[in-house]
Amino acid sequence: MTSTAQPLLRVRDLCARFGSRDALRKVGFEIDAGETVGLVGESGAGKSTLARVVLGLQRPSHGSVEFSGIDLIGAAPSVLRAQRRNLQIVFQDPLASLNPRMTVANAIAEPLKIFEPHLDRSARDNRVGAMLERVGLDAQAAARYPHEFSGGQCQRIGIARAAILNPKLLICDEAVSSLDVSIQGQIINLLMDLQGEMGMAMLFISHNLAVVRHVSHRVMVIRAGELVETASSSTLFAAPSHPYTKALLASVPRRPANPLS
């Protein structure tokens, strides 16, 4: 497929090794601006390693990561730092990813202090206040600490912190996996709303196939460091072609009958 528009993220031939083990083998894919791409696979398949390499938190042994046309792997530290604001991540454990000694307001303001140092205090407070409201937390949350919040609320804080810089790509690494099912939907809807409003792209990593299906435009299946199948969400779930994808889908316990529909 050739497209005249440049993809937001272009990953080619990516390999990563841990000792003698291949964590990623020749992984290549693209993500367009505003697109949500799901990444599914089992533990140890390389999902998080891929996220870490794309973010520049880990060097690949081979291959390239181009973001907005800029090569991130060979980039000078200053170039990489400038791009960081456009690449943000939300982790699985919302409490562990927040500094326990920082108030919620400070945690959300921190990226602004780093990337928009010219903002004065009141402008920054306004941005933080607006973001808090946007993710569904009330203004009193600002002065409190992470441990005072439930898992779902902490994840809202993590999303606010990631989204406050208007990133072009948000990586969600099992962002809803530790949440209860009644809260999971709230957080996914929030992510989808933010994406619509801000036009950001998402790499949505999860082992939960049903969640990925609803969130993603396209889905990639990774197994033992290799992408074995990539297809549109509707195609992949209705007519999987790779045997591994078929096996994965067949393993999901069947959802009980839907009572309200």
Binding site: E42, S43, S150, G151, G152, Q153, D180, V181, S182, I183, Q184, G185, Q186, I188, N189, M192, H207, N208, L209, A210, V211, R213, H214, S233, S234, F237, A247, L248, L249, A250, S251, V252, P253, R254, R255, P256, A257, N258, P259, L260
Partner: protein, 319 residues
């Protein structure tokens, strides 16, 4: 018929003023029955069964009745409980790594159960352990006996725990989120294995899970817990077809589906579950409930109805 496990008005409290982790739960499990207990984090489902196992921390204050095979467990002394626990009443957990001792071989940990409870010799016990590993479909059981927990995958460790829990032919196996930490393909294998355990060992199973789909694939009967209480109890097919408590209905609606149309927005339940210790004199679900009326905020609904289908709601859904 006498139930294998019979809990009556069980309460588990912590601290002062008391936080009620389990708030007056009555629950029965009959022999060879698979009962699902579903609820979200903090609903009290694990506390309930830890109380039955006598494994709650010292700070917990437990009241009510827990009868196992006709014997009162709460009144029993430590020795009596130790005789039952791990032999006739067993439990497997979500994280099979932390449930095994890292520096002992699989064989030692399995054989110990028979040496302790059955007075077997180590030689007999090791041989029985090997056969049990084979029965729970562990490949190369003889070799596994000499391995340590870290040498096994998560799914294999869960099989080892299952083998350990079955060695003394338990009357009731409590499985607390047995597949939650496992990959989906391994999860399917463990569910299949639990099904085989019922068939081959005839043990009753209490399956605790937050995942209704996992419960649906095994349970005959289901209890739904919310904020330390049972809010609904019914036969599994009935509960899925005609949930009567609004919480059950919404929970079912929240599970994203692998079939049907893709949704632009996922269904959710409004608000948050109550925080531990939040005072709930009336219906705990009322603040999140679309059907809630004035009465729900004043009067606590009690679980009522024929034993085939009970609901604790002033305005239950009608089939």
């Amino acid at each position: 018929m006498m139930p294998a496990l019979n809990m009556e008005d069980l309460r588990v409290r912590y601290g002062r003023p008391a936080v009620e982790a389990v708030d007056g739960v009555s629950l029965k499990i009959f022999s060879a029955e698979c009962v699902g207990v579903v609820g979200e984090s903090g609903s009290g489902k694990t506390q309930l069964f830890m109380a039955a196992m006598g494994l709650l921390p010292g700070a917990a204050r437990v009241s009510g009745r827990i009868q196992f095979e006709g014997n009162e467990l709460l009144a029993a002394d430590g020795g009596a409980i130790r005789q039952v626990r791990g032999s006739k009443l067993t439990m497997i957990f979500q994280d099979p790594m932390t449930a095994l001792t890292p520096h002992l071989t699989i064989g030692t940990q399995l054989a110990e159960v028979l040496v302790t409870h059955r007075g077997a010799t180590w030689k007999e016990a090791l041989s029985a352990a090997g056969s049990m590993l084979e029965r729970v479909r562990v490949p190369e059981p003889e070799r596994r006996l000499h391995q340590h927990p870290h040498e096994l995958s998560g799914g294999m460790r869960q099989r080892v725990l299952l083998a350990m829990s079955l060695l003394c032919e338990p009357a009731l196996l409590i499985a607390d989120e047995p597949t939650t930490a496992l990959d989906v393909t391994v999860q399917a294998e463990i569910i299949e294995l639990l099904r085989a355990v019922r068939r081959e060992f005839g043990a009753a199973i209490a399956l605790i899970s937050h995942d209704l789909a996992v419960i649906a694939s095994l349970a005959d009967r289901i209890y739904v817990m919310y904020a330390g209480r049972i809010v609904e109890q019914a036969a599994a097919p009935e509960l899925f077809r005609h949930p009567r408590h609004p919480y059950t209905a919404e929970l079912l609606e929240c599970i994203p589906s692998l079939t049907g149309p893709r949704l632009a927005r996922l269904p959710t339940i409004l608000g948050q579950p109550p925080r531990p210790g939040e005072k709930l004199e009336a219906c705990a679900f009322a603040p999140r409930c679309p059907r809630a009326a004035e009465r729900c905020r004043i009067e606590r609904p009690v679980l009522r109805g024929p034993s085939a289908s009970q609901v604790a709601c002033h305005f239950p859904l009608t089939p």
